[in-house]
Amino acid sequence: MTTLIEQRDAVNKWLERYGVRFGVYKGGVFHEQLFPFDPIPRVIKRSEWNHIEKGLIQRVKALNLFLSDIYSGKQIVADGVIPEEFIYSSKGYLPQCENITPSKGIYTHICGIDLVQARDGSWIILEDNLRIPSGASYPIIARTITRKVSPHTFEHNHIEENRGYIDLLRKTMDYANVNGGLAVILTPGRYNSAFFEHSFLAEKTGATLVFPGDLTVENEKVYYNGLFNTRQKVGVIYRRVSDEFLDPMAFDKSSLLGIPNVMQAYAKGNVALMNAPGNGIADDKGLCYFVPKMIEYYLHETPLLQNAPTYLPYYPDDRKYVLENIRKLVIKDVSEAGGYGVMFGRDMDEEHLANIKHLIETEPRRWIAQEVIDFIDLEVLEGSGTVLRKADLRAFVLCADEIRVWHSGLTRFAREPDSFVVNSSQGGGFKDTWVEKN
């Protein structure tokens, strides 16, 4: 471990040489920044991991069943478990996906579930990312480089290999593939915040990295138009283009990032899209409250992992509680993502508080409130010593013939001492995540 720490600068230098970057838009201007790596790994004990793993599989299973239900019979709404307003007024619900059954019934191919560990040791779900969660590539690369600069580290520590992600991903793509056609990764392009990851994953999985314009739909099938007029039928698209831009015929008509009429080919079952369009309804912040209820409803099981205690101002009792206790709560705008629209009651001045309270009263559906989880700090190297920083864990869950959890994950930490916001788009750093071997 000491050698590892001594090699921090060497690792970060390698990361820079590899071009491990994260794009950030600030004030409308695109900056590319390095994603700072901290060499002290987060270590998770095997017994603890087994519990997390079971809980995540249970959760993803329920979320997939929910999506399948919502885009067909909506039994969970008919049975009064979730009010219809939460479905129809969510930006994540896409009627264009109604009655489309994706390949093998899988919606949630790659899930990034964000958890934190509370001071009592329990793991708590912060949010589900079921659209295009990013970040898996960083720990893989960091570990590869660490191996290079400190080869002995992994001889002495018996931890799970993390290169297996690539196989998991490829297996997931192959399982979803509808016709044995070409497997492609569709990137919005060079200026996307996760472009580095798109090219990395394509290279490692052997999938073809494609750009908008490379794919066309003809005769209800998707083709890749390669160099020298080659044309290949596409069987699965791991798309890193968001739903709204995916098909200008079905969604945002001004999109130049999409594949015109791909939704028709998808509805016909001629191509697999991963993740499935329309998943935004299941990871909508306003729906997070209902995930434990989904687990009970679809699986008849007790949730193994808990959400942060969440209140929906939509319900009058919750609204009253939120308005009275706003100082100790965190308030989230359900229409925002990536750490935006997150406000801590204790940090707001009187004017800001009054403003938010007014918004909660006039637009209750737009907000959720959560108890602030006092999650544990992790040691982060700074200068010659260490400091304590808040950190979370993005666990990756992949769905193929069965649901598997990657035995690693992305541990992100906040840059500032008092910050609870760890999103990379907000300037945080990352650590490797070591899962103890069986």
């Binding site: 219809e84 479905i87 007024s89 009655n99 739909v217 003809e218 005769n219 008509k253 015109p260 028709q264």
Partner: protein, 268 residues
């Protein structure tokens, strides 16, 4: 009292330079329902490769495909004869989605203020309420072609106090949904107009009835429906994406005439 109506609709997109790899998706044929029966219809799409037909998520018929070869114009439309019943009422179960705001119909304080200026009485029917909303809107909006764009929302149009049928419809939908009446956007044709029209269907007890906010009236018959959705965006008559740096110009022609009367009501 049925009405037999014949129509001819054609749009020609003229490109300033040749384009190719032109993907398209069209909603340009009348829907079939208990109010309107299609006696005959033929669609025209040219140039086109193989054209496919499907239903979208709201049940509208769509035609889609790709015109791959270079072309400098693209034509689409349909002609046919439609039998309209005397009563525009479509018996369907209520789909909850039409109760909630959509991108173009999200209310703002201006729409809420207009709604609160309308006094409803307990004994009023849904149709009477919708007509009141139409009138309130009509007194606040002026019909002004080219004053808005296809991106204008209900809130923006009401604030400007001007618009076309699309804006009137979005505003009425917003008012209806805000007052708890399910409402949806309809694209179609009417006698006496040279281009496509838009109006609103609202849910009353067990069926969809219709109102035309641009003309400040409830609809009984005479309107040919193409498609419906949450708002304009769901009912695009044409969407297209092509390769080529061309400017486009539209030529639209529409004739609607009652067959029995045999009088052409409008040409353009």
């Amino acid at each position: 009292m049925d009405k037999l109506v014949e129509y001819h609709y054609l749009t020609k997109v003229v490109f300033s330079e040749k384009v190719h790899s032109h993907s398209f998706l069209l909603r340009c044929t009348p829907s079939e329902n208990e109010y309107q029966k299609i006696e005959s219809v033929s669609s025209r799409i040219a140039p086109a490769g193989e054209v496919f037909r499907a239903s979208d998520c709201f049940g509208n018929t769509v035609y889609y495909g790709m015109a791959g070869e270079p072309h400098d114009s693209f034509e689409f439309g349909s002609s046919g004869t439609v039998r309209l019943s005397g009563l525009y009422a479509l018996k369907e179960p209520l789909a909850g989605i039409f109760l909630y705001p959509s991108a173009f119909t999200a209310p703002d304080s201006g729409i809420a203020a207009l709604l609160s200026s309308v006094r409803f009485s307990a004994s009023e029917t849904v149709s009477e309420k919708v007509l009141k909303l139409c009138s309130a809107l009509f007194s606040r909006m002026e019909y002004a072609p080219n004053s808005t764009t296809i991106e204008t929302t209900a809130a923006e149009a009401l604030r400007a106090g001007r618009g076309v049928c699309q804006d009137y419809s979005h505003a009425l939908i917003s008012l209806c949904r805000l007052s708890g009446i399910a409402a949806r956007y309809v694209a179609g044709f009417i006698e006496g107009e040279g281009c496509t029209h838009a109006w609103v269907e609202y849910y009353d007890k067990d069926c969809w009835r219709a109102a035309d906010p641009t003309h400040n009236r409830l609809i009984e018959t005479g309107y040919i429906k193409l498609s419906h959705g949450r708002d304009f965006d769901d009912c695009s008559i044409e969407r297209g994406v092509f390769s080529g740096a061309a400017k486009q110009r539209l030529e639209i022609s529409l004739q609607v005439q009652e067959k029995s009367a045999g009088v052409s009501l409008q040409k353009s």
